[in-house]
Symmetry: C2
Subunit: 210 residues, 2 copies
Amino acid sequence: MAIQNSISAPVPTLRRLPRYIHVLKRLKKGNIKFVSATTIAKELGIESIQVRKDLSVTGVTGKPKVGFELDKVIVSIKRFLHWDNRYNAFLIGFGALGEAILGYDDFKNCGLNIIAAFDVDKKKIGKNFNGVEIFSMNDIYSLAEKMEVSIAVITTPGNVAQQIANDLVKAGIKAIWNFSPVPLKVEENIIVESVHLSQSLAVLTHKLSK
Amino acid sequence: MAIQNSISAPVPTLRRLPRYIHVLKRLKKGNIKFVSATTIAKELGIESIQVRKDLSVTGVTGKPKVGFELDKVIVSIKRFLHWDNRYNAFLIGFGALGEAILGYDDFKNCGLNIIAAFDVDKKKIGKNFNGVEIFSMNDIYSLAEKMEVSIAVITTPGNVAQQIANDLVKAGIKAIWNFSPVPLKVEENIIVESVHLSQSLAVLTHKLSK
DNA sequence: TAGATTGTTAATCGATTAACAATC
DNA sequence: TAGATTGTTAATCGATTAACAATC
């Protein structure tokens, strides 16, 4: 099987694409059919040339003078991000953050299909949240082997995150969305995307004068 | 009063600095006093030259052959990010995400001091969580005027976020940590730092082959 | 001392922005 | 048609990486 996915894009572009979807969906409610790069740019406070460059990587084309067809752009971005299907996912750690993620139904439109959650807290195990059952941490490996899971969302404390990651990789997981504070070490072909809110906070507080 | 804060740094550098603190604190537990840029880099899977460049912006210096003194680096980064003091903050929206943020005590070490929370849910109003009282949304403006608040953490749905931002800016807020999905429009001198988890998810799913 | 590491200056790389022909 | 907008190629900008002298 040949390695596909040769079509890539700069990470900053990938990160802007969901913002375009958001704006476009909002405009769509106003019954608008076509939109120019300038309009999208204004909504987001960026430059129109950047919007055109970004959209071009998804393969969508517009009409000079007219702009881009809303629906075509949305479909094109979604396909490019693989948001036109859903990857099965495990949620590891069902604290407040885990609950926030599981409760946010819109992630279903972002390729994420959480099919099981895991926690150490016996009071939570066996319960059901938003249609997803919460299992014991001990069941991760066996369930991961049984089910077809691509993504692990790790919201546990740092001290257990690496071990959990190891287990999941062994069980065949392909990608980790890491909310734990530790830098996970995994083999080359495993995708790790980490969210560290303190990084965002650093940008904010640094800009604030004392 | 002169405008200070002329010392700046690239945003990617600002975002890496908290990661260094995390690694350094971990090493400190092992009773290590000095560390080389190479060691830090290896822990994070990046290049040592990048670590040295990043650390240099904070003003800290190391000793050739020996490396950097752990404590000196931590103090230097914290000062640079203004994490050596705390900014008073309001948390607007006390859903699962708001609870996760309020419950994460380590943000206190990242310059963030949440002094009040706000929600529309009458069942939550008047309650206390992690030492912070939850008020009615209607009290935001009056309380913001009374208290010395620098930061607003907005975790509300998108449809009310802009109005809340407007009110808070009028009441004298300086920065907004925005978790709502809408792009907030505020006057030039207000700092807005947005967290959109779908952006991170886009990077992950795009890399995943179908 | 010799070797390792810092810190600075220069080179490279990649993303953003500009310019402009093509086109509806 | 004239004007607005796309899409592509080139120029600029800024971050990353390389090179290397200074130094403990």
